[in-house]
């Protein structure tokens, strides 16, 4: 099965005014996503995950690397050709309100992609907008409102309606629910799942919220300072994390279940700036498992088991962390009823 999205050796450097070295936002990232699947990219600030999302859609020009969507290499396309395939690949933004033009009505916002890429008449657009709004769980009347008149959760639904208007095959979701309350968040995630099942859309879900990633994604890549440090199917990552950063990340997330206490795998210090990256392994300044070699050797992504890749020279020694495994709690069992 050919993956719908394939990223090969993506690199992005930014030149920063006044700094001697460029900001290495993304360093040699490669991954692929199968049709109708959801890939998650998790990381904290400076990880480069947002930049990856933008580069994959070529909204930012990559410094080097290939991006193949449906077999087409985006990096070689002219601007006009790129614009003509945009209907196939869309983006949902982090801040719902900021991503909507405050002067436009919801109806106008959702109709914009139709005006740009279709020859629908005004009436046809009107109908399609109503249809899209209903698809994302909003009433038709919302079309006449302005963004500031509706709640944040609804604003994000508008953003999603706009993104699916041209029936894209692939959507990049950049922290689409991080600024929402937990209930609105859950509703939007459920909506995304529903849309994926009905329309067969492939998602790239970028987030720092591990709980949501675990719920939504099939496949996860963990990024730290521009590199993928671990990549595997979701449950595998959460049950058997190998990379020290992944472990630290997982143990840092407070689990909404007082019966579960994760082993504390703590990273010391602060996240280094992407302008001044440490030599060797980017994590070595904070890693409790750092060895002398970590200071000088740059680790590569290696396969440690079927479909599980880790970028750490001590991966095999560290092995699989059994303490991360847990039985579903009583709470989760009853919630699943």
């Amino acid at each position: 099965m050919t993956p719908i999205v394939r990223v090969e050796h993506l690199v992005k450097h930014f030149t920063v005014a006044g700094a001697a070295k460029p900001l290495q936002a993304v360093s040699d990232v490669s991954f692929s996503i199968e049709r109708a699947e959801t890939m998650g990219i998790v990381g904290e600030s400076g990880s480069g995950k947002t930049t990856v999302g933008r580069c994959v859609l070529r909204l930012i020009e990559p410094t080097s690397g290939r991006i193949l969507v449906e077999g087409q290499d985006l990096s070689t396309l002219s601007h006009d050709s790129l614009r003509s395939i945009r209907p196939q690949m869309q983006l949902v933004f982090q801040e719902p309100f900021d991503s909507l033009d405050p002067q436009m009505t919801v109806g106008q916002i959702v109709a914009e992609p139709l005006r740009l890429h279709t020859k629908f008449s005004k009436a046809e657009r009107h109908d399609r907008v109503a249809e899209l709004l209903e698809k994302v769980g909003l009433s038709r009347r919302t079309a006449d409102r302005h963004p500031h008149q509706i709640a944040a959760g609804q604003q994000q639904r508008v953003g999603i309606a706009r993104a699916i208007a041209t029936e894209p095959k692939f959507i990049v979701l950049d922290e689409p629910v991080s600024s929402l309350d937990s209930t609105a968040r859950a509703e939007i995630i459920d909506l995304l799942i529903d849309l994926q099942e009905r329309l067969g859309i492939t998602y790239l879900f970028i987030s720092h919220d591990l709980t949501t990633v675990r719920y939504l994604c099939n496949w996860v890549a963990v990024m730290y300072l521009g590199k993928i440090v671990e990549m595997s199917p979701t449950e595998e990552l959460f049950e058997h994390p190998v990379h020290p950063y992944t472990r630290a990340l997982l143990s840092a997330v407070p689990v909404p279940d007082p019966e579960v206490r994760r082993s504390k795998f703590v990273l010391k210090g602060e996240i280094p700036s992407p302008i001044n990256l440490p030599n060797g392994c980017h994590l070595h300044t904070r890693c409790p498992a750092a060895a002398a070699a970590c200071r000088t050797t740059i680790p590569e992504l290696e396969q440690v088991s079927d479909r599980h890749w880790v970028s750490c020279i001590r991966a095999r020694e560290l092995g699989f962390d059994k303490s991360m495994q847990k039985e579903p709690s009583a709470m989760e069992q009853s919630a699943a009823k």
Binding site: L59, P87, Q90, Q94, D98, L100, D101, P102, L116, G159
Partner: protein
């Protein structure tokens, strides 16, 4: 803009100055239309023998040294002053918007040139520039309008440019690009409608200043010509009489001028506050 009756009520409660301003502007606009028609005396005709009569029931504001009724001339002036000020402001806006859009959206060489030219125009003292332009082009109402437009154009170029610079970084602009919109589309559909708010709000303030400019130019003899009724020229004509105790030919137009400019300023200030994005 999303103003509804609830907002208006709040406005009335917290900003009485806006109401005062609005009232004055309304009166001025009405007079601009019907002023000369309802004047008790013809504002342009001198009645010999009636010179320098003090205020009385027949002549509410007295007469000037040509024998013209001051009250009639005072209420006939808005037609001149406001026409010049409003048309001039519209001219400044009509030129300022496209220039500001270009300067803000396409940064680089073109933008730099535009900003430097604006700097140069703005660095001249307003009256000197106004005077010079009128001398060069001839003392006609049409040219005074051009002067008002030229002098105020840089303000709008800067204002629009500032809005554009702010708006280009907004996520909804990036969203439009992600949808496949080209530059022209983005400017037309997204940037322009969002940039226009402050422009409209500032128009009232500009009109106020333009009235003052017109009056000032007329006062020094570089604006509207006698006998066209105009507050500035009226003040100038009556100035020499103040020494001899006949204060009414200068003072009444002066008060009218001050009130009118104040009205536009009060209204404008509130409008600027309302459209100011940081308030949200």
């Amino acid at each position: 803009m999303g103003l509804d009756s609830r907002h208006l009520r709040y406005l009335i409660k917290t900003r009485p100055s806006a109401l005062v301003g609005a009232a004055i502007v309304a009166v001025a606009l009405v007079l601009a239309v019907i002023g000369p028609t309802i004047a008790p005396f013809d504002p342009r005709t001198a009645i010999p023998g009636d010179q320098l009569k003090p205020p009385s029931f027949g002549h509410l504001m007295g007469t000037d040294d040509n024998g013209m009724d001051i009250f009639s001339r005072v209420i006939a002036s808005p037609q001149t002053d406001l026409t010049i000020a409003i048309l001039g402001t519209l001219g400044a806006i009509a030129a300022g918007i496209p220039l500001g859009l270009i300067a803000g959206y396409y940064r680089g060489f073109v933008s730099e040139i535009l900003m430097r030219v604006s700097d140069i125009v703005q660095s001249f003292p307003v009256f000197i520039l106004g005077m010079a332009l009128v001398v060069v082009t001839g003392q006609e109402i049409r040219n005074v309008i051009y002067v008002v437009a030229v002098v105020n154009c840089p303000i709008y170029v800067r204002l629009v440019r500032g809005q554009v610079l702010f708006l280009r970084e907004r996520p909804f602009i990036e969203a439009a690009r992600a949808l496949g919109g080209r530059d022209r589309w983005i400017i037309r559909e997204h940037i322009l409608p969002n940039a226009i708010g402050p422009v409209v709000a500032n128009a009232s303030v500009t009109i106020g200043w333009a009235i003052l400019l017109t009056a000032g130019l007329s006062f020094i003899g570089a604006g509207v010509r006698v006998p066209t009724p105009e507050w500035g020229s009226m003040i100038a004509v009556g100035a020499k009489n103040v020494y001899t105790g006949e204060w009414w030919p200068s003072v009444f137009p002066g008060i009218a001028l001050a009130f009118t400019v104040l009205g536009f300023a009060l209204l404008g200030e509130t409008m600027v506050d309302l459209t100011d994005r940081t308030r949200r």
